[in-house]
């Protein structure tokens, strides 16, 4: 059996080795090699199977073996074709579309045949020094916040560069430093067939809290902190989205590490819970590093003493929220315009807010110079500052601000 496999693979390799590189002047030779390769790939198994049938004296076994062999060849050929054509399976339509999509998906899920992911640079020349306190990461979707957080936590390795904790390289001491870092991912799940207490008790054990009395106390405190004590014995599958989010937060409170990384933890929480959790993080940041990413600029301004703005994998700004606001001072304008002029103003200026007010529209504009005669300078907010930073980037790219 092993000899058969070696013979088959050696024949194929021989063809692939001597196959010339495709070029306009070698068309005939290319075609001959292609046909030869196909004959070896598809035809060679047939005499081998006939020989095996004679050896085994069992037709059924030989047919079964042959079926698996040809299926493997077919899957490989389909995978190669999908790779070569760059087919996006989910966009396939036409005759037997559903069947083809299911088949292609199945082929792609086979190990060794699945399409290799094309390298993508998510982060570019990031250099940050983060000390104790609350550090905010803000940026639009796809800016690289989650990738950066995953690298900081050791979930993803970086292809270049390094992350150090107190001069200890994370890549070299990944397992040891893991105990010092707590991570709440953006998309986390729970074991829904467990109750809240069971789930947290299990997580506490995994985090190394083996003393039952201590574990019970910690689980109780964590549940109290996220206001889920009343639902402690209910199955998680009966919880709403916000309650599940709070279970995830409670889980990070079980064993507080030196570095706490939370990726958009306030998404999905109601305003009261959001403020409560933000305050809780601020409390925790007194004697540890808390890295906090969010889309909600207001969360950063009211809780972080330092922040970084990421855009397309690069750091656009590092400093305090006040510094960021200061950068925008003198560039935020407010004016009351007739309702009919709104579209015209939008075309010529970067309108960040507009609100109907007593028959007119109150607009808030970001501009270096006075955009309208009636516009007055106003004190910038954190949101203005963020939009200003984003707007400058768009302007540089030649897009409409």
């Amino acid at each position: 059996m092993i000899l058969v496999a070696v013979f088959y693979l050696a024949s194929l390799s021989l063809f692939c080795t001597f196959k010339p590189a495709p070029g306009p002047d070698r068309r005939l030779r290319d075609r001959i090699f292609d046909i030869g390769e196909k004959v070896v790939r598809w035809g060679l198994p047939l005499p081998v199977l006939l020989w095996l049938r004679g050896q085994w004296r069992d037709t059924f076994s030989a047919v079964f073996f042959g079926l698996i062999w040809y299926m493997a060849i077919l899957f490989k050929a389909v995978a190669n074709r999908l790779e070569k054509r760059g087919t996006i399976i989910d966009r396939l339509t036409g005759r037997f579309g559903r069947l083809r999509r299911a088949f292609y998906r199945f082929v792609q899920s086979i190990p060794l045949l699945s399409r290799k992911k094309k390298p993508f640079q998510a982060l570019d020349r990031i250099s940050l020094s983060i000390g104790s306190g609350m550090f905010g990461l803000v940026g639009p979707n796809g800016a690289g916040k989650t990738t950066l957080m995953r690298i900081i936590c050791g979930i993803l390795g970086s292809s270049r560069g390094k992350v150090s904790f107190n001069h200890l390289d994370l890549e070299e001491n990944r397992e040891e430093l893991q105990a010092l870092i707590g991570y709440l991912p953006q998309e986390f799940g729970t074991y829904e067939n467990m109750t809240a207490t069971q789930f947290l008790d299990y997580q506490a054990m995994l985090k190394g809290i083996w003393n039952k009395r201590e574990r019970d106390r910690i689980v109780r405190t964590a549940l109290d902190s996220v206001h889920l004590s009343e639902n402690r014995n209910h199955k998680i599958r009966t919880f709403s989205g916000g309650m599940k989010q709070r279970i995830g937060i409670a889980q990070t409170l079980l064993k507080l590490p030196r570095v706490l990384v939370v990726d958009e933890p306030t998404a999905g929480l109601d305003p009261r819970e959001r403020i409560r959790f933000r305050n809780l993080l601020s409390e925790l940041a007194k004697d540890r590093i808390v890295i906090f990413s969010t889309h909600i600029v207001e969360d950063i301004s009211s809780s972080c003493n330092k922040l970084a703005v990421l855009l397309e994998g690069r750091v656009k700004f590092v400093g305090s929220p006040q510094d960021l606001i200061e950068r925008t001072r003198g560039n935020v304008w407010q004016a009351h315009i007739p309702e009919g002029d709104l579209d015209k103003v939008r075309r010529i200026a970067n309108v960040v807010h507009h609100m109907r007010d007593a028959g007119k529209v109150r607009v808030r504009i970001l501009a270096e110079e006075q955009p309208l005669a009636e516009a007055k300078q106003v004190i910038p907010t954190m949101e203005d500052a963020y939009m200003w930073l984003m707007g400058r980037k768009e302007q540089k790219q030649g897009g409409q601000p």
Binding site: S61, P111, P185, M194, D201, N211, K212
Partner: protein, 233 residues
């Protein structure tokens, strides 16, 4: 006492997760399958089964129980989006996945013990410990192999397909391979003539050695693969 309680709770939580909340269903199915096979054996072949037949009857529920958790375990953690959280736990490979695998084997061994004991009380004098230890060998090997394939492919469905092909290969070639030490379903209780008994014992020894080595290697490689967190996100 506190430590025992904690370990028991830890195993219980793992058991809750291993079968995706369907522990009782799987246990019932495995029991049902065993009793069905036993009944067919009793009625069809007539008379009390011997150790050789009981070994074959026990393999079916064993494989049924080990298959789903080991093949779909990692994928379920990905589906429930728990995998990233688990990666944040120090020594997660041992604390989470190895513990679950061992818990699974303990559950199956306990069930096998109960079934053989029941057969010993009601049918004939079967060697309980020897039977359980021998049945567990291929079960552990298949569990470890499924765990290894699922760690490589990160897909439960792919693992299931490969495992089915693997099992069918041994099923189809059963007649050719049954005297070989490489046969997965090698039955150490098979009745052989006195002259061949020494040879058979040797074949059994090598078969068990291969299964144990295969299980250890598959588990270690799976755990090594789980260290590459990037592949699972």
């Amino acid at each position: 006492m506190n430590r025992i309680k904690t370990v028991a709770a830890f195993l219980r939580y793992n058991a809750l997760h291993i079968f995706g909340g369907r522990f009782v269903v799987f246990l019932g199915l495995a029991m049902g399958l065993f009793f069905l096979v036993l009944l067919i054996g009793l009625v069809g072949r007539g008379g009390t089964p011997n150790s050789e037949r009981l070994y074959n009857y026990l393999l079916a529920p064993g494989i049924l129980l080990v298959f789903y958790p080991s093949a779909y375990g990692i994928q379920r953690d990905q589906d429930t989006r728990m995998v990233e959280t688990l990666f944040g736990i120090p020594d997660y490979r041992y604390k989470v996945w190895l513990t679950r695998l061992v818990t699974l084997y303990i559950i199956i061994a306990v069930m096998m013990f109960a079934l053989v004991l029941l057969c010993r009380i009601t049918l004939a004098d079967f060697p309980v410990w020897r039977m359980v230890s021998h049945v567990m060998m291929p079960v552990i090997f298949l569990g470890s192999l499924a765990f290894f394939i699922s760690a490589q492919s990160t897909s439960g469905n792919v693992t299931a397909v490969i495992m089915v092909i693997f099992l069918m290969f041994f099923w189809v070639l059963g007649d050719e391979l049954q005297d070989s030490s490489w046969f997965l379903f090698h039955n150490p209780f098979r009745s052989v003539e006195a002259l061949r008994s020494v040879l058979w014992a040797q074949t059994t020894f090598y078969n068990r050695l291969y299964l144990v080595l295969g299980s250890v290697v598959a588990t270690l490689f799976a755990l090594l693969r789980l260290q590459k967190r990037e592949k699972f996100i």
